[in-house]
Symmetry: C3
Subunit: 202 residues, 3 copies
């Protein structure tokens, strides 16, 4: 039986992989390189989290992530000319992935008994570190450091989860609130062009 | 007693370290920086693998890798003007190292009971991730993503190993077949200029 | 009770975080990005060490590092125009941090029973790898590979610690000698402009 969370996980992985593969194609990577960048974008954050939490990364026990990235590569190769029209669709998928990955990461750290600030960091890392690794691989300054509310949306979601559980709310409610906060912070900040202040350079 | 595999391991480590040190010298790194880049090229892939497999990296129990990199640095400093003539020799050594590292990485994951796709990834990571880290350190887009059959040769070798063991072949035969596939895929693709297709950019 | 070492640890973390935040501000990162770069500079080396040693990173059990980086960010935002005059003060703090982090890293590996060369590497990694990660994040070639005696000072400190303990000196004396060697190697090399030789490029 495939659960609702597994479907969301697949959607998020697919959207993250597509984002990596499209940026790799802009740098004229070959198919293999594009696959690796897509994979790192999709699983890099979760892998960093699992290494720090000292548990086995999810992709080492479930081939879904590798297959899903392969599907994303096929999709980009086959339908690249139509992808540009799907920009908004991918943005929605990407934001769903961000919300889901943040909640999954937060709960994984919490279940292992870490304090709340570690859970917030692990949630944000799961959501945002894959994109950061992607940008390092393609030799760009990570976007999440300079533009848009991206990793900050994960932090807000993690704080929401923590506050909800402080008030004794049940897990599924915490998940819904935290996921919605990530999704809304991300989408609204892009829609209304909300940015964090830039640090004044010397 | 030094075994045949240890000699190959030394040759591969030396060739990988030389490749890192030579690229560092092109960027005018100092001796220490060149040593670090050489070391990362030689042991980076195996270290990433061992961190993911949650075992102690080989260089933390055997000083051979550090000494071998030191020898490679000395070699480049002392004989830099002759190195250019040894280009083909180093290419052969580097391909031997790639083949050996792939087989070692595959078997390490297999021995720990991971499924075949994890073994293929760990073999490829052992062979190719050091060069990727080297390119990130010297601030270049990793070569393996854009040019030549390099990491792809490791993947082919890993698949060969898996198929051989599926057919019930003994370990030493699997090793020979997989190593030969990596070596031949690498050398023939360079000789005949075979590349993977480039992903069409937007 | 706060110990003397904890105060030094705070000073070192603060100085490292400031160095990351200032470089991020020169690249026009936003506040969040600057915080992440500051944090990575401060805790990146220790985290790499702890992942390799397979122990829980210090910042996952003690919130001090996160708070200290937050304080550093506030400091840079509030007092950025005065920071330029504090250049020498920060250089001293940074060198103290380098010395302390090296000693802490060396002892952590030694306490886990690793051979001396692993301890030297772990000490140097604790001191210098955060700055290396910082430079990768802001997409620059790591400074420690090209300029000044920085990571080399850590290596010299680690070797000193090892020699002192070989001669049967007590732990606190080893710490003082090793820390002083790092501090002096760093500060004197900058004062007298001592560099390692550059590897001649091809």
């Amino acid at each position: 039986m495939i659960t609702f969370v597994q479907i969301l996980d697949f959607v998020g992985t697919f959207a993250f992989a597509i984002s990596g593969i499209r940026l790799a194609s802009a740098k004229r990577f070959d198919w293999f390189g594009a696959y690796v960048v897509g994979l790192v974008t999709a699983i890099g954050g979760g892998t960093m989290r699992d290494v720090l939490l000292d548990v086995t990364p999810a992709w080492m026990t479930d081939p879904m992530y590798l297959l899903c990235t392969g599907l994303a590569l096929f999709w980009v190769i086959a339908f690249s000319k139509y992808l540009i029209h799907l920009h908004n669709t991918f943005f929605i998928f990407d934001s769903i992935g961000l919300a889901l990955f943040t909640v999954v990461g937060f709960e994984k750290a919490e279940a292992l008994g870490y304090p709340f600030w570690v859970s917030i960091i692990m949630g944000s890392m799961t959501g945002a570190a894959g994109g950061m690794l992607r940008d390092i691989f393609i030799n760009e300054i990570p976007l999440i450091f300079r533009k848009e509310i991206y990793a900050m949306a994960c932090v807000l979601g993690g704080i929401s989860y923590w506050l909800c559980s402080l008030f004794g709310m049940e897990a599924y409610l915490c998940q819904i609130v935290a996921g919605s906060v990530v999704f809304l912070a991300r989408t609204l900040s892009v829609k209304y062009n909300i940015c964090l202040p830039v640090l004044k350079g010397e």
